[in-house]
Symmetry: C2
Subunit: 290 residues, 2 copies
């Protein structure tokens, strides 16, 4: 089986359009004269991105929220979505969750496709947003000296999934993530780079460092937790919390609640240091597909 990074690298080789930031930057940005549209597409597969048997309303919510979070990281406001839907046995629940999520984000359903098929279900959503500031933030703008910030705590979705699996405890953070649309819009004009944390703070910070050609040093104990302290190492490698990770010039202050968790330096041997040390090469840092 191909690994995702190898496939993405091959895809990137055939994507020469200036808007093709979507391959490694979550969103494509289309410049249209006075406006810029931001486009993102996320897929979710039953048993991989959500549990088999999970409430389809929560699945719909999460499908919308993950795409909205990509827009949030661009400071974009939702224009609408296109849904790729594989019919199943819980379609009414899916529709209920979809309606709730689209209402919440003010993102109208514009179109899409429905199919039937055997086996585990796959769902896709394309979200279209309108940039509220330009240039649209990317992962690639970090300068040495910038501070690295995060909007809030991680580890909540990890506990939420455990609660859902065990049938006891609060699973809301896993089932109903919230994309930080307002925070993204306030931050977009100020940040040097921004992305949402979907695969883990360490992995996503490393991706930002690589895209920007810098090295981040993260103070691991500065990262706010929504789980017990003894699970910090896991929480830094866990996705699904959808915080915004961003950089500001040294000395700049954030317009939204956020925590400074590190700083960028000139690119050294490793793109990511944690408490001053490079990580073991076998550390997967976060959630990777493939």
């Amino acid at each position: 089986m191909t690994t995702e990074p190898a496939f993405i690298a091959a895809l990137r080789a055939i994507a020469s359009h200036p808007a093709a930031r979507g391959l490694d930057d979550d969103c494509a940005v289309l410049d249209l004269g006075d406006e810029a549209l931001v486009l993102t597409h996320d897929m979710m597969v039953e048993g991989v991105h959500y549990l088999s048997g999970q409430d389809a309303a929560d699945v719909a919510w999460k499908l919308v929220a993950t795409n909205m979070s990509d827009l949030a990281a661009k400071g974009a406001e939702p224009v609408g979505v296109l849904l790729g839907y594989m019919l199943g046995t819980e379609d009414a629940r899916f529709l209920a969750g979809l309606r709730e999520a689209l209402d919440f984000y003010g993102a109208p359903l514009l179109g899409g496709d429905t199919v039937s098929g055997p086996g585990p279900r796959a769902l896709g959503l394309t979200a279209v947003g309108r940039a509220t500031c330009r240039p649209v933030p990317s992962r690639a703008g970090v300068h040495a000296g910038d501070g690295l910030w995060i909007t809030g705590a991680v580890g909540g979705a990890m506990l939420g999934l455990e609660a859902l699996r065990s049938g006891s405890g609060d699973s809301l953070a896993y089932r109903r993530p919230q994309a930080l649309m307002a925070e993204g819009r306030k931050l977009a004009p100020l940040v040097t780079a921004m992305m949402d944390v979907s695969d883990g703070v360490l992995l996503d910070a490393q991706r930002m460092a690589q895209a920007s050609g810098v090295t981040f040093d993260i103070a691991s104990h500065a990262v706010p937790l929504a789980c017990p302290e003894n699970r910090r190492a896991e929480a830094l490698r866990w996705g699904d919390d959808y915080q915004l990770l961003f950089t500001l010039p040294a000395g700049a202050s954030t317009p939204v609640p956020a925590t400074r968790i590190g700083a960028a330096a000139e690119r050294g041997p490793a793109p990511l240091l944690v408490d001053g040390l490079a990580l073991d090469g076998n550390d997967r840092l976060g959630y990777r597909h493939g």
Copy 2:
């Protein structure tokens, strides 16, 4: 299992945005001041929309072509695509076909998502186009008296699939459909309605009649065939040929090669007549999912 029409009806109920033509009109149309963007999303599932074991390069080609055909029916020129891809065992072949198709249509890859998952693969593609004329044609503009036209022959993809399954004969029409981009752009300023034939001439004509509130009478023997005459009834109910079906005011002539196959009248008891007769209510008319 929910039927597709029921699910689409429920989706339509939550889609109140004026651009939400995509639910029953293949494409959403976003008005952006001087420009209009046309957006479409199609999914393909292994074993449903293509054969298990089929060359992944052909699958990629078809995924692109079906979406481009939706743009063609709007007279739109491609801006780019976002890919939702489930990794498998033939990723290199998929990439080769994808590159070939995107080059052919001049549609750059803008972004997307890759996932891994068990079971049959599901693929999604979102195509973004720029309208070349406004208003953008829809299915809903037919007037009583208009002529109904088709750009070419049907039944070729049916024979192509049979050839592919049997391992002998020419399967190209099934494997490598071509979207009629240039024809769509020439027709768009002139037609009263237009759509591509993806699910069968009769079924798609009925959908156009219903969207427009008219009745079509189709002269079944006027429809050009790419298969033997004794398979005419099947060919009228077979999709995948991606011809354009359109209406022109009575007396107007077509700017591209096309055949007049019927006419629209005031809406009668049935939306579709074939050779003057309503069809049996059990006639499925074409390919329906669900």
